[in-house]
């Protein structure tokens, strides 16, 4: 199974190598398809690696700092395939705490809750209190703004933010921007940033040196993955036009509960797995609803998968190597396959 997937990936690599976009430097990214990503910024080039390989090789070596992205915890969801999403969030936190190199902070890319209920946010807060990294940055998902235009969310997580909860901050020379693309959605559309936020973003980036590494994070992908399921943001092109002049841009999203990655010039896009339940690859199911798997397979679906991107000169190599113990390859590889299928077809 793994080898078969590897063949597919290798095949896609051939196509990728025709892309004559100037690859800058070296980027290595290994995404763990279970509960989160560890990002290491080294010389402005972010790379990620799996928690379970935290004793691992060169990834992160010489990194100035690291942070963790988790996403789509959906606290309050209690249906198949995961009746206990609090437990799987806890697993993610345990993994983060077990890392030998402590991340400076955690970014949660939204859908903290299932129904925006205060009790759900309470449960999430309680679980996150156990994280060794005390600084946690949030952006809302559509599930966090269900009942009250996001009032409950903003009161808890939006202090010092603008509009529906957007903000930026600097950390050790890197500029981070948290964007909200789940508010005031229009009939028939996808995610939306809106004019007010776009104007703010333009101003926020103005005057910054082009050598400043930029990290944009938002819930719904800022690139169009699958319009039929609303997996994209209507006005993301405008936002991305503001970061074109920067030498290193990383876009981190959630929402689709699976890993997808794309590199376009100096911009690399990544989506994270959910800590709660998987969703189907684009177009492989009647809808984007939770993917139901037998209980004994849940751990494997949320299991560990590496997706490695190696960019060196003009060649981009993608290596899919399941992290888990033997037996985890079948479902573990699913995430990797999803990446390849959606990206290059």
């Amino acid at each position: 199974m793994t080898y078969k997937n590897q063949d597919l990936i290798d095949q896609r690599l051939q196509d990728l190598n025709y892309d004559d976009v100037d690859r800058r430097g070296f980027l290595k990214c290994m995404a763990w398809a279970g509960t989160g990503l560890l990002w290491t910024l080294s010389g402005g080039i972010p790379s990620s690696r799996a928690f379970a390989k935290s004793h691992g090789h060169e990834a992160g070596k010489g990194g100035d700092f690291s942070f963790v992205q988790i996403s789509d915890s959906h606290i309050g969801f209690n249906k198949p395939a995961n009746p206990d999403v609090t437990a799987t969030l806890q697993t993610a936190i345990n993994k983060i705490n077990a890392m030998p190199h402590k991340p400076d902070f955690i970014i949660h890319t939204g859908d903290l809750s299932q129904l925006s209920k205060p009790s759900e946010f309470d449960t999430l807060d309680q679980a996150l209190k156990g994280a060794a990294a005390k600084q946690i940055y949030f952006v809302p998902g559509e599930h966090d703004m269900l009942s009250d235009n996001g009032e409950e969310y903003l009161q808890r997580y939006g202090k010092g933010t603008k509009g529906s909860g957007w903000y930026s901050f600097d950390h050790k020379g890197v500029h981070f921007v948290g964007l909200v693309n789940v508010a005031n959605l229009k009939a028939g559309g996808m995610g939306s940033l809106g004019r007010e936020q776009l104007e703010w973003l333009e101003g926020d980036l103005q005057g910054r040196s082009a050598s400043t590494p930029i990290v944009l994070f938002a819930h719904i992908p800022l690139w169009t993955i699958y319009p039929d399921w609303g997996w994209g943001t209507d006005d993301s092109e405008q936002a991305l036009s503001y970061v074109k002049r920067f030498g290193s841009v990383t876009v981190l999203n959630g929402h689709i509960h699976q890993i997808m990655q794309k590199i376009e010039g100096k911009v690399s896009f990544h989506t994270a797995m959910s800590t709660a339940f998987p969703q189907p690859a684009p177009g492989t199911a009647p809808s984007a609803g939770p993917m139901k798997v037998p209980t004994d397979e849940l751990q494997r679906v949320l299991g560990i998968t590496d997706v490695n991107y190696l960019v060196s000169g003009s060649s981009l190599a993608i290596v899919d190597s399941p992290l888990g113990d033997s037996g985890s390859s079948a479902s573990g590889s699913r995430g990797g396959l999803a990446v390849v299928d959606s990206l290059f077809e």
Binding site: L146, G188, M190, S287, G289
Partner: protein
Amino acid sequence: MTTKKIWIVGLATTVMIALMLLAETPSVAANDQPSGASADVKIDNFSFGPQTLAVSVGTTVVWTNRDDIPHTVVSTDGVFKSKVRDTDEKFSYTFTKAGTYPYFCSVHPKMTGKIAVQ
């Protein structure tokens, strides 16, 4: 407490309950149109079915969310707006005027539907 007082309290309570019941009753067209007719829209797999529903004036349309994911039913023109509806929860609205009423799910705006009232 005298018997008379008890009677008055009892009457007052009865009136209050009656008023509350009246307030809870869904509004219907204040004309001679047949009332009480109802029609269903099912929410399945992130879509409204049927996507376009034709009803006569006075019909109450009942939406039922049969997905594992919460949805809303929101009139594009601001005529009606449901609270978030989780699995198996319903929303109903009685259409008292002819016209076309487009609506969508404000959580998943790709989900759109239409009620044509004749």
